[in-house]
């Protein structure tokens, strides 16, 4: 059989990064081709090339055997469609307008809304969505938005669908529904590129599996059933040792350090984001907080560090009420914070390492006399940190933006840990890091646990939560839908149900 589309020796370079290094990839009609790799392996770049958003520096793309160069419009004319992970939709527009965007039928100079609506309705029915095409996108749930994203590409009859990490924001049950949709698409002889870093999905969905690492294809076209998860993992990482550090759970937690009582938070539109949330964290304990993203994790973190004020409820650290305290006061009271957005909230990228490590502590007697900064001392301190935390090849005056993701994260952790926090909030601490850096971050968190810090780990990565937490809470629509006390003996399915709000707690708590 002829491939419907084929990439040959595609090279794409960005300043300082070789994103795609002579990549080859072939896609056949009616197949699902899974593309796996760690963050930064070059999958997204490759797909953007396929969808015409980037032009390759070298190499060629053959569609039905003919070499083509095209932009996004061209890609859509070749019936190539992209389903984005973060939904390329306009929330203020209706479902209808979002779907016809770029392909609006025109009659007599006007958009023919009537015929478009008819067509869209049939798709909505096919995907069992009982909503009006005039509903605004912003009123839809994440799962519904995903389906709209797929309808968008079917609307122009795409025969090649690129799904970029489509399950990242779905519950396991919603993912299952998506896989069924993929099956029906295959039956219609459409080809699907399925990008993921979740190995189990890849095995389940992919007819063929290609693995990328550091911009290169390291394994092309493994057939379904010929390969195990471990083999894929090894190919992804490129090392034999894929062992991630685990919490040994050897000592028992101490007294309660942080306590949240009946916390509520309403956003500026009056929508409740946190409902009646109570929890305790004890010293020497890692409390994992899981759930599908967007179920209150961000709000919870921001309320904990003081960037948002709760609407109701109280926050206690060692019995001291911090509900109305500012960020600075809370930091003094012993709250440390590793942001999930290290490039903006965690660091000043344009600043030097020195400037970054003293932030929030600049009035400390170590660094200043209250007005003048003691740059000599700061430099000394910074050098020590670089040594202590094994941040390789750095000088204190270096700009942070030149560092690798792992080193950036180490600097943040060093800054926060050196303040000897009583509570350490780590949000997605290993996101986007390579395996070596992930292990150093895990090690640092476990050291903090040992030292008696109460650690809150917020993560979207179930594996990470299950290997590090002493206890887990799952958030659903702003309240706790389930608690896992015995982390060693829980299945992903059970957690999945809690993530979808179907846990026991959820039933008890709503209404």
């Amino acid at each position: 059989m002829e491939p419907i589309i084929e990439l040959r020796n595609v090279v794409k370079q960005f300043p300082g990064v070789l994103a795609n290094d002579h990549v080859n990839l072939a896609l056949y009609p009616g197949e699902t081709h899974a593309l796996v790799g760690e963050n930064g392996a070059g999958k997204s770049t490759l797909m953007k090339i396929l969808y015409g958003q980037y032009a390759p520096d070298e190499g060629e793309i053959l569609i039905d055997g003919i070499s083509c160069r095209y932009d996004v419009t061209g890609a859509r004319q070749h019936k190539i469609g992209m389903v984005y992970q973060n939904f390329m939709q306009i929330p203020q527009m209706s479902i209808l307008e979002n779907i016809i965007l770029g392909n609006a039928p025109v009659s007599k100079g006007m958009i023919d809304y009537a015929s478009a609506e008819k067509k869209v309705r049939t798709y909505l029915e096919r995907f069992h969505m009982p909503v009006s095409p005039h509903t605004l996108i912003r009123n839809l749930s994440v799962g519904e938005r995903q389906k709209i994203e797929i309808i968008k590409v079917l609307y122009f009859d795409a025969r090649i669908l690129i799904l970029d990490e489509p399950t990242a924001v779905l519950t396991p049950q919603e993912s299952e529904e998506l896989f069924q949709i993929i099956e029906t698409l295959k039956e219609e002889q459409r080809s699907i590129v399925f990008i993921s870093h979740k190995l189990r999905e890849v095995i389940a969905v992919g007819d063929r599996i290609t693995v990328m690492s550091k911009g290169r294809v390291v394994q092309e076209g493994w057939k379904r059933g010929e390969v195990t998860e471990t083999e894929i993992a090894r190919a992804m990482i490129g090392k034999q040792n894929v062992q991630l550090i685990q919490n040994q759970r050897e000592n028992t937690p101490g007294k309660t350090v942080l306590e949240l009582n009946k916390l509520w938070y309403f956003d500026e539109l009056g929508v409740p984001r946190l409902r009646d949330l109570s929890l305790q964290v004890r010293s020497g304990e890692i409390l994992g907080i899981g759930g599908v993203e967007g179920n209150g994790q961000t709000e919870l973190i921001r309320i904990l560090i003081g960037m948002l004020r709760p609407s109701y409820g109280e926050i206690l650290v060692e019995q001291i009420d911090l509900t109305k305290a500012s960020v600075a006061k809370r930091r003094q009271a012993g709250i440390g914070f590793v942001s999930d957005d290290r490039m903006t909230e965690g660091l000043v990228l344009d600043g030097t390492i020195e400037e970054n490590v003293i932030a929030g502590n600049e009035c400390d007697a170590k660094f200043s006399d209250g007005f003048l900064l003691k740059y000599g001392r700061i430099r000394e301190y910074c050098k020590n940190l670089i040594g202590d935390y094994d941040i390789k090849g750095l000088t204190p005056g270096k700009h942070v933006k030149m560092l690798s993701g792992g080193n950036m994260q180490k600097i943040i952790l060093a800054r926060e840990i050196e303040r000897k926090p009583k509570v350490l909030i780590a949000a997605q601490p290993t996101r986007g890091l390579d395996i070596g850096a992930i292990n150093s971050v895990r090690e640092l968190l476990l050291e903090q646990r040992k030292a008696g810090t109460a650690v809150i780990l917020v993560s979207a990565d179930l594996e990470e939560l299950m290997s590090l937490s002493d206890r887990m809470l799952i958030l659903f629509e702003g309240s706790i839908s389930g608690e896992v006390t015995d982390v060693l003996h829980v299945t992903e399915e059970e957690i999945g149900l809690m993530m979808g709000g179907a846990g026991e707690h959820a039933e008890q708590k709503s209404h």
Partner: protein, 312 residues
């Protein structure tokens, strides 16, 4: 001075501002805050007088104004879209440049400085419609304006249609609301932005031409903040074309009041503040109102939901 005259003058004053505002509105809709409306209008006004002077024809003067202002806005577009210059900074340099160029060129072109008056034959002709005389008040107010003023009055309806009903309008809205989504839908964002800015330039040229040719003269700084007023008008109207028509007429009315009341002995300077004070309120008030409404809404749902929850 009677109210009919004031309203007639208000419509006349609103004309140029409306043209410029509609241009700015299109730019805003593709997410370009065009602070330099003032500069483009000034270029349009000056060039239209130059054009009329050399060709001896009003309409060729208008064409000249439109061409100059469009040329200028293309440069502006290249600067902000291709060279990624901060739009506000670029806008201010355009305003400075427009003011400097028109001041300087007045000398080599006309041999005067400060202002130049054309012969009155080159004034923008007004259109007299007999049938309008039959209608009391409204007929009088709407009669005897220049063609460009009528065009300005119709324009908001045209734009409302284009933005809401056509493919081009959908593209414009998409680009303004979420550029990334527009790119991924295969919309040529660049083309949409350039075209919106070009129309913006044409309209600024028309606005400037109407301003200068209706009084067949140019004086330095004659736009006198009208570009900013137009911005304020669309800000107040939330970039809705029909609401912008109303706000522009409102500003025209304020300006007309200034003209008529200053003759009666009020301080014209204090009255001159009126449009800008309105514009300032227009810029700030929606935000204040939005915050208040959100605050009330939020407090309400907070108390209701929380007490409801703990009652059971």
């Amino acid at each position: 001075m009677d109210i009919v005259t004031i309203l007639t003058v208000a419509v006349r004053h609103a004309g140029p501002v409306l043209l410029v505002a509609m241009g700015g509105l299109l730019a805003s809709r593709v997410n370009i805050f065009n602070l330099a409306l003032e500069g483009f209008m000034l270029i349009g006004a000056f060039s239209s007088i130059v054009g009329a002077f050399y060709t001896g024809n009003v309409w060729l003067g208008v064409l000249f104004g439109v061409l100059a202002s469009t040329l200028m806005i293309i440069i502006y577009a290249v600067f902000i879209i291709e060279l990624e210059v901060q739009p506000v900074v670029c806008a201010i340099s355009i305003i400075t440049l427009a003011s400097g160029l028109t001041r300087y060129l007045l000398n080599p072109v006309f041999g005067v400085s400060g202002r130049y008056v054309l012969s009155s034959e080159l004034a923008m002709p007004v259109v007299h419609m007999n049938w309008l005389e039959a209608i009391p008040v409204a007929g009088q107010i709407l009669n005897n304006h220049s063609l460009l003023v009528y065009f300005a009055l119709v324009l908001p309806f045209v734009l409302a249609f284009v933005i809401n009903k056509t493919k081009y309008g959908l593209d414009i809205r998409a680009v303004g609301m979420n550029e990334e989504a527009a790119v991924s839908a295969g919309i040529h964002v660049r083309k949409v932005k350039y075209s919106a800015l070009m129309i913006n330039g044409i309209l600024c040229g028309l606005g400037g031409a109407e301003l200068a040719l209706s009084v067949y003269m140019f004086n330095v700084g004659m736009t006198n903040g009208r570009g900013y007023t137009a911005l304020a008008a669309i800000t107040l109207a939330g970039c809705n074309p029909l609401l912008s028509l109303i706000t522009c007429l409102l500003f025209g009315f304020a300006e007309s009041l200034v003209v008529s009341l200053s003759g009666v002995g009020f301080s014209s300077y204090l009255l001159g503040m009126l449009p800008y004070a309105l514009a300032l309120v227009a810029a700030v008030a929606p935000q204040v109102a939005r915050r208040c409404i959100h605050f009330i809404k939020r407090k309400k749902s907070e108390t209701e939901m929380i007490s409801e929850y703990y009652r059971n």
